[in-house]
């Protein structure tokens, strides 16, 4: 099981959390405002490797946290 360290509650199982999505990131090469907006709303980096993302501790302190996770191994990394 994936365990997540919550700043408030300590190390807790993933089942207590709700996934909140990767931090939106629009590539610099997209310069048109409308295209940047489209990318911000819909597109994902969907990183194959270490990604930075938001999680919500739904069954705990009910606060948001940011963590880095390796999507190849499904482990939280520092």
């Amino acid at each position: 099981m994936l365990w997540i360290t919550c700043p408030t509650c300590g190390e807790r199982p993933i089942t207590e959390f709700r996934f909140g999505g990767e931090l939106p990131h629009v590539p610099d090469r997209i310069t048109d405002d409308a295209e940047r907006n489209l990318d911000w709303v819909w597109m994902h980096d969907n990183v194959d490797g270490v990604t930075t993302e938001r999680w919500f501790h739904a069954a705990g302190c009910r606060r948001w946290l940011t963590l880095r996770r390796d999507t190849r191994t499904d482990r939280v990394v520092a």
Binding site: L2, I14, F19, W42, D45, N46, D48
Partner: protein, 402 residues
């Protein structure tokens, strides 16, 4: 792999060339079906299908093999109904036994709002050419005598929509039927050839870079499952895809003749029986995007508690095998097919948890697009540009997962 694949297929393997009219990335169901229909319907045989691993090694070999068309938006119902019909005649067309079996699918409802959703689905399906009818709990019990209509006391069955055309087929046989049909007509399949980059001429994509060297192509199509975002990024194409693991399991064998396929949109799980008698079941995909194919105990626990509410006999069976595939979930739970905005690169992705049933129609439509340069009307609503047009094809309720 099974004995059928090992012994009955006699395939002409080809030496790779360094240039093709069409290069398809990914030798799964969608990639091979596209190559097959290019060869059979359009006479285009200068085609290579490049595959990082072996044929059908991705989700084509990991899915739960359900074929159905009871979707919730008109465009999807027409598309999947066409696919269901192509599946029906696939054995005759390819000459391969794919173990196709029409079983019917019950989609249980446990609440008034669930019943309303199933009624709406039935009416829409009928209007769009798919057969789906509402049945009472007693009729559902006749179709599947193993059902507990009280839902373990917690999920009483108020009714169900019944989709008699729903079927299953042996997934690796489908993949190999297309592979065989394509190869016999001259299509090259290059296994263990990972694509490491796309060749560009200005903006245009003109081929793929592989471990074995560059391969030039008139047109490149990505039929990749899992790492499609990586492939698209090689051409600076951005996709609205998140890749999530989806797990499934089979139990030991149960007496053959389990009635149809049982699905449940409130418990979000589905159960069918394989030709060997094993009970095959699945549920929701994992909440976090991941490329890890690890199976989890939480999934086992969650699917077991769900399915035993509606089918109590399952609690006496043992889990034989549990596995994971990684599926590309689009934001509106509909596939993404067609142009990418970059010349020379087409994509068929966003197949999430609903890709197997779409293999024939998806392959046929993509082949027509490659051959004629025109997007067939059957898939024109499923283009990547729909997000820019604010025209999402939202149909999460029909995916049977979330």
């Amino acid at each position: 792999m099974n004995e059928f694949v090992e012994t009955l297929l006699d395939l002409p393997w080809h030496e790779p060339k360094n240039s093709y009219d069409v290069v398809v990335i990914g030798a799964g169901g969608h990639g091979l079906a596209t190559a097959y229909y290019l060869a059979t319907r359009h006479g285009i045989t200068d085609v290579a299908v490049v595959e990082a691993n072996y044929i059908g090694s991705g989700n084509s070999g990991r899915n739960t093999t359900i074929i159905r068309a009871n979707y919730g938006i008109a465009e999807s119902v027409r598309f999947y109904q066409h696919s269901l019909e192509l599946y029906r005649s696939l054995e005759e067309e390819t000459g391969c036994w794919i173990m196709h079996s029409t079983k019917g699918l019950l989609w249980l409802a446990h609440t008034e709002s669930g019943m309303r959703a199933e009624r709406a689905r039935s009416l829409l399906n009928q209007a769009c050419g798919a057969e789906t009818v509402m049945v009472t709990p007693e009729e559902a019990k006749r179709i599947c005598p193993q059902l507990d209509l009280s839902g373990g006391g917690r999920y009483p069955v108020l009714g169900a929509s019944y989709h008699p055309g729903a079927a299953t087929a042996r997934h690796d046989r489908v993949v190999w039927a297309y592979a065989q049909g394509a190869m016999r007509r001259g299509v090259h399949i290059l296994q263990h050839t990972p694509v490491t980059g796309l060749l560009r001429d200005g903006e245009r994509v003109v081929g793929v870079q592989t471990d074995g060297g560059p391969i030039a192509a008139g047109i490149v199509m990505s039929a990749v499952g899992g790492r499609v975002t990586t492939i698209a990024a090689m051409a600076d194409v951005r996709l609205p895809i998140r890749t999530h693991p989806l797990q499934a399991l089979v139990t030991n064998a149960y007496a053959p003749g389990f009635g149809g396929i049982v699905s449940d949109s409130e418990l979000l799980c589905y159960v069918s029986q394989t030709a060997r008698g094993q009970m095959l079941m699945g549920a929701e995909f994992d909440s976090q995007p991941s490329y890890s194919m690890a199976s989890s105990f939480e999934f086992l626990q969650s699917v077991a508690s769900k399915v035993t509410h509606i089918l109590p006999f399952l609690r006496d069976l043992r889990v034989l095998r549990q596995w994971t595939g990684i599926c590309d979930i689009s934001p509106d739970y509909s596939p993404i097919m067609g142009a990418t905005g970059v010349d020379g690169l087409l994509v068929t992705t966003g197949w999430g948890t609903w890709g197997f049933k779409a293999i024939p129609a998806g392959g046929e439509a993509m082949a027509e697009l490659i051959a004629t340069g025109r997007t067939p009307s059957l898939i024109e609503s499923f283009g990547l540009d729909r997000f820019a047009r604010d025209y999402a094809m939202a149909d999460q309720g029909s995916a049977g997962t979330r």
